[in-house]
């Protein structure tokens, strides 16, 4: 006991001189502050990398792109031909699923499935997976789409998701398997996954636009690319997490390596894989909306169009449809993941398989209804659907009429007194100062490898020539994250006290997190039009979720004996919170802040749509000019900003947990 206590105190990297506790922060942050203060005296190159020093990453990438596009590198065809062929391959499943859901097969004289059937199947599936409540939720959400006149658009979006998700899932699982089996592949894959998962959505769109062109197919492919990394990650974790004994049991049964993989390991990792499937589906939905920038059809396309023409009411109406679809898909796939096998008692087929029977009945019944009796069951004509747009428009009008002045004053004051000064402050930071700061933090937290990695990230941004823009992004993210913490931390504390509160907060967090990020722009445009305040508001709404969630879970995970011990030592509830629960939950909370930073970075780029002047704007411009090199390099800048924060915070949290003995 005594030994472990002293071992923890002397902290992992041993052999370093012992310093008084105040000295470490001073040594770490001091040089940074000194350099920022002495900015005027620094040589100009130390503040912003001068033009001639810029490394032409963009030109290099574009040169590669040009070769791939133009020159016949595979003898008979170019790389671009190959990618286009791939796009064609995705086209026919898309056609089939769209045909089933909405378009029908005119050539064969077959209609699409009637909407009542799809609603019915969603409800039956929900009941089968979890029970009547999920049946009502899933059926209700899908029915809404039909009744409120969004059927066609929704089914196009759904078709894209239904095609993209399995492909992305299969690729992800394949990569995960390969990584688990081949060590070198895993070493290669992790950094790629890290970058891919922190790369802004738009960065995926540009190469796709260049190599495949624009259109629905291109959008679907961008979606697949975007949704694949979480599956690979969860596949690796899942396969690694299989109990060793189960694998050994497979070997002892005499499995060949292939049998072991497919009959033992993959099925045993089912739980993690199904969580991956849920994530893939949600990522697909989020990306399908954004992929409308390269011409994906469906709800996203319409949403984009309405937003561009500032028809807020109609945009809100579509937003609601997207949200409902997201909720239905999320809950269904979550229930699928949580469902465990159970034995089937014997009996006649309709009793042993009641849901299959019901589904069969629904199919026959609704097709009969659609063909024989009323065409209303097939698709609702426009005059029978309800549109809520006028209501939303009225609401928007009320807000603009009554709140416009107040909101405008708030916006301008915030801008003038807080945001602009803050932006100026951020723009003072010399790149050299930040490199030194992150490197020394990295070295202190983990060692020279982390120091080199994070310093490399910042150097890339500086030498790619996007330093001033990156500082603007950093300022928006930093301000938003601070607001998120100020708002989210108390919310998390509040929600952690009492099971009911936690349940409510968890449901809310889950629900809000399923919304595709783009949705958050709608209310923000309504309130603040465009500009920094609007962008920051959108970021805060989107990025506050993780901090609430992690704070709540971190506090609840504190062992109850420790809390009881504190209470019996006479702590007031406040003292228990601040002296016991908070310090123990702090590593978890920091991981929440880490997530918040990542979310904020995603959103700040999407917010370029409403006129910011940071890296996001650069990516946006790259998208319009189909400049793949620029899009990728700026995307990497954003990704590296996120990864810098991520690597440092994770290292810190790991170290802290080890010190607390909870790792």
């Amino acid at each position: 006991m005594a030994e472990t206590a002293t071992g923890a105190e002397s902290s992992p990297p041993t052999g370093r001189p012992r310093l008084p506790s105040w000295a470490i922060p001073v040594l770490l942050v001091g040089p940074f502050l000194a350099l920022v203060m002495a900015r005027e005296r620094l040589p100009a190159w130390a503040v912003t990398v001068p033009e001639p020093w810029h490394v032409p990453f963009i030109d290099w990438i574009n040169a590669v792109v040009k070769v791939l596009r133009k020159d016949a590198i595979f003898g008979l065809f170019t790389f671009r031909d190959l990618t286009r062929a791939g796009a064609e391959a995705i086209d026919w499943p898309l056609q089939i699923v769209e045909g089933v859901l909405i378009a029908g097969f005119p050539a064969l004289g077959l209609p699409a499935l009637p909407w009542v059937l799809i609603v019915g199947l969603a409800a039956i599936w929900g009941w089968y997976l979890k029970g009547p409540r999920l049946a009502l939720l899933a059926g209700g959400c899908i029915a809404y789409l039909a009744l409120f006149g969004k059927w066609k658009l929704s089914m196009i979006t759904l078709a894209a998701v239904l095609v993209a998700a399995p492909v992305a899932g299969a690729i992800g699982i394949a990569l995960g398997i390969l990584a688990v089996k081949k060590r070198w592949f895993e070493m290669l894959l992790w950094p790629v996954l890290n970058v891919m998962q922190s790369l802004p959505h738009f960065s995926y769109l540009i190469p796709v636009a260049v190599f495949i062109g624009v259109g629905h197919k291109a959008g679907t492919i961008a979606t697949i690319l975007f949704a694949m990394p979480p599956m690979a990650r969860l596949a690796i974790l899942g396969l690694r997490g299989i109990s060793k004994e189960v694998t050994e049991a497979g070997i002892m049964a005499g499995c060949t390596p292939r049998q072991l993989l497919w009959k033992v390991e993959v099925p045993a990792a089912r739980d993690a894989l199904m969580i991956g499937v849920n994530q893939v589906i949600m990522q697909c939905l989020a990306m399908v909306v954004i992929a409308s920038f390269v011409g994906a059809k469906g709800l996203g396309h319409d949403l984009l169009f309405r937003l561009q023409s500032l028809r807020i009411g109609q945009a809100l109406e579509i937003g609601v449809a997207i949200v409902l679809m997201a909720i239905a898909l999320d809950r269904l796939s979550q229930a699928l993941a949580a469902r465990q096998p159970a034995h089937i008692p014997e009996g006649p087929f309709w009793r042993t398989h009641p849901f299959l029977t019901a589904a069969g009945g629904a199919i026959v019944g609704s097709i009969l209804a659609a063909v024989l009796t009323t065409p209303l069951a097939q698709i609702l004509p426009k005059d029978l659907t309800v549109t809520t747009a006028p209501m939303w428009d009225a609401l928007v009008d009320i807000i603009t009429v009554n709140l416009f002045d107040a909101l405008a004053i708030f916006r301008d004051d915030l801008l003038r007194h807080v945001l602009i000064p803050l932006r100026r402050l951020f723009q003072l930071v010399p790149w050299l100062a930040l490199v030194i700061l992150v490197a020394s933090l990295g070295w202190y937290l983990k060692g020279w490898r982390l120091a080199l990695t994070v310093a490399g990230f910042i150097l890339f941004i500086a030498f790619a020539g996007f330093w001033p823009r990156a500082l603007i992004t950093a300022y928006m993210v930093a301000f938003s994250v601070v607001v998120c913490i100020v708002v989210g931390l108390p919310l998390g504390v509040w929600a952690s006290r009492g099971d009911r509160r936690t349940a409510i907060a968890t449901t809310l967090c889950d629900t809000f997190q399923t919304f595709p990020s783009f949705i958050y722009l709608i209310p923000v445009i309504m309130l603040f039009q465009v500009g920094d305040v609007a962008a920051i508001t959108a970021i805060v709404i989107y990025a506050v979720i993780p901090i609430v969630r992690y704070t709540m879970f971190g506090l609840r995970a504190v062992p109850s004996e420790i809390v009881e011990a504190a209470t019996t030592s006479g702590c007031t509830p406040m003292q228990t919170l601040w002296k016991v629960r908070m310090p123990l939950a702090f590593p978890e909370i920091m991981l929440g802040i880490n997530q918040t930073i990542m979310f904020a970075l995603f959103m700040v780029i999407i917010a370029a749509f409403i006129g910011t002047r940071d890296l996001g704007q650069e990516i946006f411009r790259a998208l319009t000019f189909a400049d793949a090199g620029k899009g990728l390099v700026v995307g990497l800048c954003v990704s590296f900003m996120g990864l810098t924060a991520d690597q440092l915070i994770t290292a810190w949290a790991h170290r802290r947990r080890q010190m607390l003995g909870v790792a």
Binding site: A249, M252, G254, K263, P267, H343, I344
Partner: protein, 340 residues
């Protein structure tokens, strides 16, 4: 060699940076201090054992003493760092991957501490699994699986999934699965440790019943000495990777090789374990009068006679011929000698 079912010679398993290189540079048999000092984890050290056909060899030791690692070396789930292992006289470490698969498909079965059932398969499918991977037709393998289900008393649970069963039932499935292929050699790694004491006892009886019918060669791991005594023909006691003593329970009790072994056997009720033969003097008694007792009786059964008779007692074999003498002092010494 020859008749042993399994034998191993000077088997080592070290974990660390370069175990082979370390062993080579240290003459193949470094002592434990040298291993530790070089930063290696000594999981198995210099173990030589043999298991005879239809013998139950129990391996015991404290947690971390290397029992699981040794058994996994014997079944070659783990590649030993050094040493030789023979299975039916065949050099196991030279067997190709294909030969190993064949061996496991037909000759080896293993039961795991945490059952290691496949969660996505029913009881029937789990038990039929080893046959399925061999490519046995569905009807045949399910018929065989049902046979074993009856053997382990799980009728009526065929369509259940593992998570719907209690721990004891799950381990019955694990046992049934390992028996599906009718293995010659049966490895059991703490099969009953995760069960409640009552269920554990029941499963031990069940195990003995099965073994009476099946007569497998068994390597059984436990860290519970009572369990070892109930089941074992011979017991091997491991400490820090090494087998410190291997023998029958009585040998371990009456003649412990080290204090570690003595410590292990301390709480055993010796009068129920030791027989008259274990404590008698071999010389037949001169005095033929007075009571005589059978050599194969347990001490507890003859305690009364011993206490009531002042002179040495004649020990006879099943034919009634004198084989030795039992003295009260020896009995007391054997029962209470090793204890504080």
């Amino acid at each position: 060699m020859g008749e042993e079912k399994i034998s191993c010679r000077k088997v080592w398993k070290l974990y660390g940076r370069d175990p082979e290189g370390f062993l080579r540079t240290h003459g193949g048999a470094p002592d434990i201090a040298a291993v530790r000092a070089a930063g290696y984890i000594p999981a198995v050290r210099d173990v030589s054992l043999e298991v005879m056909p239809s013998e139950i060899l129990v391996i015991m030791g404290l947690s971390g003493s290397g029992k699981s690692t040794l058994v996994r070396c014997l079944s070659r789930l783990i590649e030993p760092t050094a040493g030789e292992i023979f299975f039916d006289g065949q050099d196991l470490l030279k067997a190709s991957a294909k030969e190993m698969i064949e061996l496991r498909r037909h000759k080896m079965g293993m039961v795991f501490q945490h059952f290691a059932l496949l969660p996505h398969r029913t009881v029937l499918q789990n038990i039929a699994f080893p046959l399925e991977v061999q490519g046995v037709a569905r009807a045949a393998r399910e018929a065989r699986a049902r046979e074993i289900i009856a053997l382990v008393g799980l009728e009526g649970r065929e369509t259940y999934y593992p998570r719907e069963l209690s721990g004891g039932q799950q381990q019955r499935v694990g046992i049934a699965r390992s028996l599906a292929i009718e293995p010659d050699v049966w490895f059991l790694d703490e099969p009953f440790s995760a069960l409640d004491p009552l269920i554990r006892r029941e499963m031990q009886d069940e195990f003995l019943r099965l073994q009476q019918m099946l007569k497998k060669t068994i390597v059984f791991i436990t860290h519970d000495f009572d369990e070892a005594i109930r089941l074992a023909d011979r017991i091997a006691i491991m400490k820090e990777g090494e087998v410190v003593q291997c023998g029958t329970a009585a040998e371990l009790i009456t003649n412990p090789a080290t204090d570690y072994v003595r410590e292990f056997t301390k709480d055993v009720s010796r009068e129920k374990l030791l027989t008259v033969r274990d404590v008698m003097e071999d010389a037949a008694a001169e005095d033929a009068s007075g009571p005589s007792i059978a050599a194969d009786e347990k001490i507890s059964a003859v305690a009364k006679t011993v206490l009531e008779t002042d002179s040495p007692i004649r020990v006879v074999d099943s034919q009634g011929a004198g084989v030795g003498t039992l003295r009260r002092a020896r009995v007391i010494d054997a029962l209470f000698g090793g204890r504080e």
